[in-house]
């Protein structure tokens, strides 16, 4: 009774009834590709985990070259359950990027980007880039050797971008090289700039998903559309299913954090030579590895610049795909876009595998 009174009190002020009514009528289409709908939700859940564990890490982390490594060391050795929080933050970051990629490709192949969901796709792509920015800036924060040198390589790549490269590199590093200034800067980007931008973009993305509803996949050619179309209520049916997966994801995270604790590595020694096996996070390796195969000069153009331009063009192509694929809105599946998607996945998997098993 008290619950109902509280709700009535809030409803009188916030008009919650509209939202309840919206949720009551929200439906999720059911079909054989229905399971891909969960991926966005899992990515969202992992983002929540990141926010929660990130805030906990902030209680002890010190963003200076002198204290960063030691503070993370303190977190994982002395702070109660600090090891769990830090390990979970690292694992969830990687899983989040992984599920975001899966989400991207599922939407790509189901052609859910077609009108009227072009902006949902664009915002999703931007969210992925921001997530990768989270990864790049967060990788350096423990101030360990591998991250230090990987950041150097990453900044050098950014420095090779035509026209703005020099400015971009200096802006990123806070100087000519990776120093304590870089660490402070990356920290600011990681805990203030990116979270704010990401959250705003995420709210827009989620709002669009709610306003537009779930995209229906193409019906097989010639098959009549289901009448009435199969669907289930979003609340509680789909919500509970999503909850099962969120809790399951939490179990996977716990298992990984306990049985495969994320290593801290060795503290940065800026005067030491670069150690063997420098590698960025796995989701950047497809780029770093492929840059190794481009010759120094191609038709008089610097090979690295050419590679960066190619990746820039590929990213722009992916962002703009709803506007380029003119066949999808009409319910037609053009083989070019299907093969482009398959090609991108094959390329990424090959380069990531090479980066780990045959880096040179």
């Amino acid at each position: 009774m008290a619950w109902r009174r509280l709700f009535a009190w809030l409803d009188a002020r916030l008009q919650l009834g509209d939202i309840v009514e919206f949720l009551r009528h929200k439906r999720v289409p059911v079909h054989r590709h229905f399971y891909w709908y969960y991926l966005g939700g899992i990515t969202l859940f992992l983002f929540f985990i990141q926010v929660a564990t990130g805030i906990l890490l902030l209680l002890y982390y010190k963003p200076t070259a002198e204290a960063a490594f030691e503070s993370v060391q303190f977190i994982v050795t002395k702070v109660p359950f600090g090891w769990l929080v830090r390990s979970t933050h690292s694992w969830a970051a990687n899983l989040m990027i992984f599920t975001a990629f899966l989400h991207l490709f599922s939407v790509f192949f189901l052609k859910a980007y077609r009108a009227p969901r072009e902006l949902t796709w664009v915002s999703g792509m931007l969210l992925l880039f921001l997530a990768m920015g989270f990864g790049f800036s967060g990788y350096l924060l423990p101030w360990n050797e591998l991250a230090f040198f990987a950041t150097k390589v990453g900044a050098d790549i950014a420095g090779a971008v035509p026209l703005v490269g020099g400015f971009l590199k200096t802006f990123l590093l806070g100087g000519e090289d990776v120093t304590g200034s870089t660490l402070t800067r990356f920290f600011g980007i990681h805990v203030a700039v990116l979270p704010m931008t990401f959250t705003a973009l995420l709210l827009g993305h989620l709002l669009m998903v709610q306003r537009q509803g779930m995209s229906q996949p193409f019906t097989p050619a010639g098959a009549p559309p289901a009448n009435p179309p199969r669907e289930m209520p979003f609340f509680p049916n789909f919500f509970l299913r999503e909850a099962v997966l969120w809790v399951g994801t939490l179990a996977v995270l716990l298992y990984l954090s306990i049985f495969l604790p994320w290593e801290l590595g060795v503290k940065v020694d800026p005067f030491a030579p670069a150690p063997a096996g420098i590698r960025p996070e796995w989701y950047f390796t497809f780029m770093s590895q492929s840059l190794k195969y481009i010759p120094g000069k191609v038709l008089g153009i610097d090979g690295e610049v050419l590679g960066i331009l190619a990746f820039g063009a590929a990213a722009a192509f992916l962002v703009l795909i709803p506007f380029l694929d003119r066949w999808a809105p009409g319910g037609r599946r053009h083989p070019f876009f299907t093969w482009v998607g398959i090609g991108i996945i094959a390329f990424m998997l090959t380069m990531i595998t090479l980066a780990y098993f045959k880096p040179y």
Partner: protein, 448 residues
């Protein structure tokens, strides 16, 4: 204008008697006239310019002009001089050989104490005319030593030379003749990495050394030794070569009773402890070569913990008979150092295991360095040859090593607890999943 080295030293050649044999052979060389004439003509023509304003570098040097023109073996020294440290500092042929390079005829080699090829017995004094003159050497290198000749005279080489033995090493045997490089030049025959090879040219030649009654396997032994490995293979210039122990210009076999002083140049603590030990007096009394008694000399191997004691590789039993007090002390010390070594290895392995398992043990690893330091200190302390003294190092060292072991074990135990306790949240999660699935079924009951 500053006088050239030659001008400064010109009159000093008088006390070096010429090597008659070599001078005659030079005089007997059939010199083709045309090239010399051409060379002298060239000098004469160009000489007008020099006469106007001669500089040290531009002064006529008939030695160079003629030897260059004649070519062949006569021009070889000129080729060699291209890399010569003396030539680079403006020292000319005449500064060592005498003669007058300003004269444009063959008589230039008949004046000013010309010596075609200085006799071996005179070489130390010839070089010392400059190298023992502090005032002369200072402009080239203010820190350079000028006691080489004095040192040489105290060396076994110098003494034998003074006694008339010209087979012994003189300056040029080690430093070269016309292409002498500074000792710190990697290509120099007296650079630390090449000294052993240079000494070995004579000392490793059994035929050449015949009659001196000393072994000729020092070079081979040194190359296999720990010092040789460090210097020759790893290029560690801190490792000693021949001259570090024997001296260079004053080279002499170390006295039996001064070996500790020789080794103690680097192994300072070991030397100090040895000199305090009972072994010092006993070894000297018995004419045993101090450090070399246990470690040998040229072929010295990397010392091992097993050397201490009476075990299979223990060397104490070579002198101490079973049952004696020395034997018992050796046995105790062997055990102490072996126990510490084992504790250190055990602790290291445990910490490495914890680290591999993903546990953060860097603090414990840092602290464990003290255990390793104890082992190093114990390896030094053993040179006092006193079990009680050694125990004061090995005892705390073993405690430190065990502390490291415990830290590693605790980290692994912690990991074990985490794994065990993780079952509780995992079970809770499973319960939630089951509950959710049941709830879904309840809601959708009958609808599939």
């Amino acid at each position: 204008m500053t006088p050239s080295p030659r001008e400064q030293r010109q009159d000093a050649l008088g006390d070096i008697p010429p090597d008659g044999r070599k001078a005659r052979s030079y005089a007997g060389v059939s010199v083709p006239g045309a090239p010399i004439l051409a060379a002298l003509l060239g000098l004469a023509l160009g000489g007008t310019a020099w006469a106007a304003e001669p500089t040290a570098a531009e002064k006529p040097d008939t030695c160079v002009a003629c030897h260059q023109a004649v070519g062949g073996p006569m021009a070889k020294p000129l080729e060699e001089r291209k890399a010569d440290a003396h030539a680079a500092k403006g020292i000319s042929c005449a500064d060592c050989h005498g003669g007058d390079p300003a004269r444009m005829d063959m008589d230039s080699m008949k004046v000013k104490g010309f010596v075609g090829r200085p006799a071996r017995r005179d070489l130390p004094r010839l070089c010392a005319r400059c190298h023992s003159d502090g005032a002369f050497m200072r402009p080239f290198n203010p820190a350079i030593r000028t006691d080489q000749l004095a040192q040489y005279r105290t060396s076994i080489h110098g003494k034998l030379l003074a006694a008339g033995d010209t087979k012994v090493a003189v300056c040029t045997d080690c430093h070269g003749v016309h292409s002498i490089l500074p000792a710190n030049h990697a290509q120099s025959s007296v650079h630390p990495t090449r000294v052993a090879e240079t000494c070995g040219r004579c000392h490793g030649d059994a035929q050449y050394m015949q009659g001196y009654k000393i072994p000729t396997d020092q070079l081979a032994q040194y190359q296999e030794s720990v010092h040789g490995e460090l210097l020759l293979k790893r290029k560690d210039l801190a490792a000693p070569t021949c001259n570090k122990c024997h001296g260079n210009h004053g080279a002499f076999p170390p006295e039996v009773t001064s070996i500790a002083g020789v080794c103690g140049q680097c192994h300072v603590i070991n030397k100090d402890l040895f000199l305090q030990s009972k072994h010092h007096a006993a070894f000297d009394r018995m004419k045993l070569p101090e450090c070399a008694t246990c470690h040998s000399n040229h072929g010295i191997k990397r010392a091992s913990d097993e050397m201490v004691g009476v075990g299979e590789k223990g060397i104490c039993k070579n002198c101490h008979v079973p049952g004696s007090r020395g034997y018992q002390a050796a046995e105790q010390m062997g055990k102490m150092i072996a126990d510490l070594g084992q504790a250190v290895r055990r602790g290291e392995a445990k910490l490495a295991e914890a680290e591999r398992a993903g546990m953060e043990v860097s603090d414990a690893k840092y602290e464990f360095q003290n255990a390793r330091t104890s082992l190093i200190k114990a390896r030094n302390e053993v040179h006092i040859f006193h079990p009680d003294r050694l125990n004061k190092v090995t005892g705390p060292g073993i405690e430190l090593a065990e502390k490291g072991y415990r830290a590693g074990q605790e980290a692994l135990d912690e990991l074990g607890y985490r794994k065990q306790w993780s079952l509780i949240p995992l079970a809770a999660i499973l319960a939630v999943v089951v509950g959710l699935v049941l709830q879904i079924r309840r809601i959708e009951g009958g609808r599939g």
